[in-house]
């Protein structure tokens, strides 16, 4: 009961010093806002990086083999064998040959479309769904057929959605479209040049038309993306056994890259959040300062209250409560402001940093920010409250 009375009293005192309280709170408000926005920003960046990596696939390894000239290299079958030998960690493999050449449909050029030579397993490995027609088949590869499977964006933009059976030109060569992939990218802004703006050819065709005899690039899928480093190590070991030299191949893991990126981001965010946290402490010092002033101003009141029978703990509680209430209110305003700034930042950021980041404050950061601001109030209110509680009632009553 005393607690509620004290709380009301604290509100009353805060209300009667609105301006002063607000200025005192400002430190906490700014600190809490900063923490929330920064953590939300980190959260958003991490998420957006994760999404873009997930689109590329975190369960895949990219393998590049330079070999040592044409004499000492590994055949496609050799790579297939390695994957088979490590079937506990590695699931599938496909050549992934970049094929250059202007993509044209009639007179329209698709400048941003990427073309890759792949095998018959590639589409299922990447979980691409065929919306229409068929995928790349083994016979297409054996026969070096000039067929292709195209992405949804290209099918819509180039053929009005009716692409199967039509012809598309890549560089000097014509390809028959045998299949169209289901859409993968939802946002209309990201479709051009994205995953839906792709053409997949049989890799043998791509090799023949670009006059290369070796495949340098592969993608390998893993059985479990929790074991990225083990899978990567297994692949590297097998390749080392073939070449006895670790400088002629490179295994690149999206998952590992993602981890490194996330670690960098979270480090940067932690540093920023700590700096914001410091402003919370500074805000706390502001509260302590104003509470000391308040204790001095209310010396006589404290004396009266003591004469009326207030125990030291009661006086103590009154001032701690006032400090805690002040900073808790600052915390609440800070949280609201933090959410406000987060949503503004979400809509403004893309035009500044060219990246869609949804600044999303986490519930835990809100809870922590609120808890810390209350804690700061209690902590920094403690000293002034102690001073108030320890006042000699006679001297306090004599004070003007």
């Amino acid at each position: 009961m005393l607690l509620t009375e004290t709380f009301w009293l604290a509100l009353k005192n805060i209300w009667s010093n609105k301006m002063r309280t607000f200025l005192t709170m400002l430190g906490i408000i700014i600190g809490v806002t900063a923490v929330i926005v920064i953590v939300g920003l980190g959260n958003g960046i991490t998420k957006s990086v994760e999404e873009s990596f997930a689109a590329m696939g975190t369960d895949i390894l990219q393998l590049t083999v330079w070999g040592r000239g044409t004499s000492r290299n590994i055949s496609v079958d050799g790579v297939y064998r390695i994957v088979d030998e490590n079937s506990d960690l590695l699931k599938g493999v496909s050549p992934n040959i970049y094929f250059s050449g202007n993509v044209r449909v009639g007179t329209t050029t698709f400048r941003y479309t990427s073309v890759y030579g792949v095998n018959e397993e590639f589409l299922s490995m990447r979980n691409y769904k065929i919306a229409e027609g068929r995928g790349i088949q083994y016979m297409d590869i054996v026969d070096h057929k000039q067929v292709c499977v195209i992405g949804d964006y290209l099918a819509r933009e180039g053929f009005g959605g009716d692409a199967v059976g039509k012809t598309i030109k890549i560089g000097a060569y014509k390809f028959r479209i045998v299949g169209v992939l289901a859409p993968k990218v939802e946002s209309a802004d990201l479709q051009m040049g994205g995953d839906d703006d792709r053409i997949y050819l049989p890799y043998s065709t791509a090799m023949r038309l670009s006059s290369t005899s070796t495949v340098n690039d592969y993608i390998v899928t893993m059985t479990n993306d929790q074991y990225v480093s083990q899978a990567k190590a297994a692949l590297e070991n097998s390749l080392y056994n073939v070449f006895q030299d670790d400088s002629v191949y490179y295994v690149y893991s999206m998952g590992e890259m993602l981890d490194v990126k996330n670690a960098t981001i979270s480090m940067a965010i932690t540093v920023l959040a700590v700096i914001a946290g410091i402003s919370l402490v500074v805000g706390g010092i502001g509260i302590m300062n104003i509470m000391l002033v308040s204790v001095t101003e209310r010396t006589r009141e404290i004396g009266i209250r003591k004469a009326l029978g207030a125990r030291e703990s009661v006086i103590m509680l009154q001032f701690v409560m006032e400090a805690a209430t002040t900073s808790a209110m600052g915390g609440v305003f800070g949280i609201l402001l933090g959410y406000g700034i987060s949503s503004v930042a979400t809509s403004v950021l893309p035009s500044i940093i060219d990246m869609t980041v949804k600044v999303s404050p986490t519930m835990s950061s809100v809870v922590v920010a609120f808890g810390i601001s209350v804690g700061i109030g209690v902590l920094f209110g403690y000293l002034p409250a102690l001073r108030a509680a320890r006042l000699n009632p006679i001297e306090a009553l004599r004070y003007d």
Partner: protein, 247 residues
């Protein structure tokens, strides 16, 4: 049965630079329940020290002070606070109401510290405010009241816990003589209703309203008795054996 207030060789010494100030120098006295006592003296006579000790705001350096038979000198600060809340009602010269609280809330403060539930608090505070004739101003703030009215609020606040002793420190000091009389009359009435009243003042004419006068000089009792006796208003010049009159 011991007296309500009992001083036994009570001393209060302060160190001021090189000299020791004897604010209370072996004071012994008894105040029984139902008395109306004025403690009189000039400034520096030790009457404020006396009041602080009676009011449990201070403890003696030597000697014992018993309030209702309990030795106050041995109490912890929390016990002293409880005694102040339970047994003492303070009335101050400057009324000392809390400016941000309305009259009802002001009078409720001692009840809050006593842990009285809200509903009972309201009823009790309202009753004493009605008793001092301010039942119609419960929601007013102290600064909306005249000095006399504010002092009546502080009387109500002093009464609200039903204390054993009402301790009034220069209650008329900030009031004009007419309002001062009214306040004193109220104290007299309270005494007639059975309350023990201890009045601290430097003013002999005010002290004369009491039924007993204790006169202090240099921390010692120089007179204790009937206010009507001529010695009651007599003062010895400090440091001399001679006698002088003081009005």
């Amino acid at each position: 049965m011991s007296a309500l207030i009992e001083f036994e060789q009570v001393c209060k010494f302060y160190q001021m630079g090189d000299t020791v100030v004897k604010a209370a120098d072996h004071i012994s006295m008894k105040i029984e329940k139902g008395e109306f006592v004025a403690i009189v003296g000039q400034s520096g006579s030790g009457k404020s020290t006396c009041m602080n000790i009676i009011g449990c705001l201070d403890v003696p350096t030597e000697g014992t002070y018993r309030l209702n038979g309990r030795d106050v000198g041995k109490m912890s600060r929390n016990e002293l606070a409880a005694v102040r809340n339970e047994m003492l009602g303070f009335i101050f010269q400057q009324y000392d109401l809390l400016p941000r609280l309305n009259l009802l809330e002001n009078v409720e403060v001692p009840l809050i510290y006593a842990g009285v539930p809200r509903s009972q608090r309201h009823a009790r505070a309202k009753a004493v405010l009605e008793q001092v004739g301010l039942g119609d101003k419960l929601k007013n703030k102290p600064n909306q009241l005249s000095g006399g009215q504010q002092q009546r609020v502080s009387i109500a606040r002093a009464l609200v816990r039903g204390p054993s002793v009402i301790l009034a420190d220069e209650p008329t000091g900030a009031l004009d003589s007419h309002t001062g009389r009214e306040v004193l009359k109220m104290l007299q009435q309270l005494n007639e209703q059975g309350h023990t009243v201890v009045l601290i003042t430097h003013d002999n004419s005010i002290a004369a309203m009491a039924r007993r006068i204790i006169r202090l000089e240099d921390g010692k009792i120089v007179y204790d008795g009937d206010p009507a006796a001529p010695e009651a208003t007599r003062i010895r010049p400090a440091g001399k054996g001679g006698e002088a009159e003081c009005s």
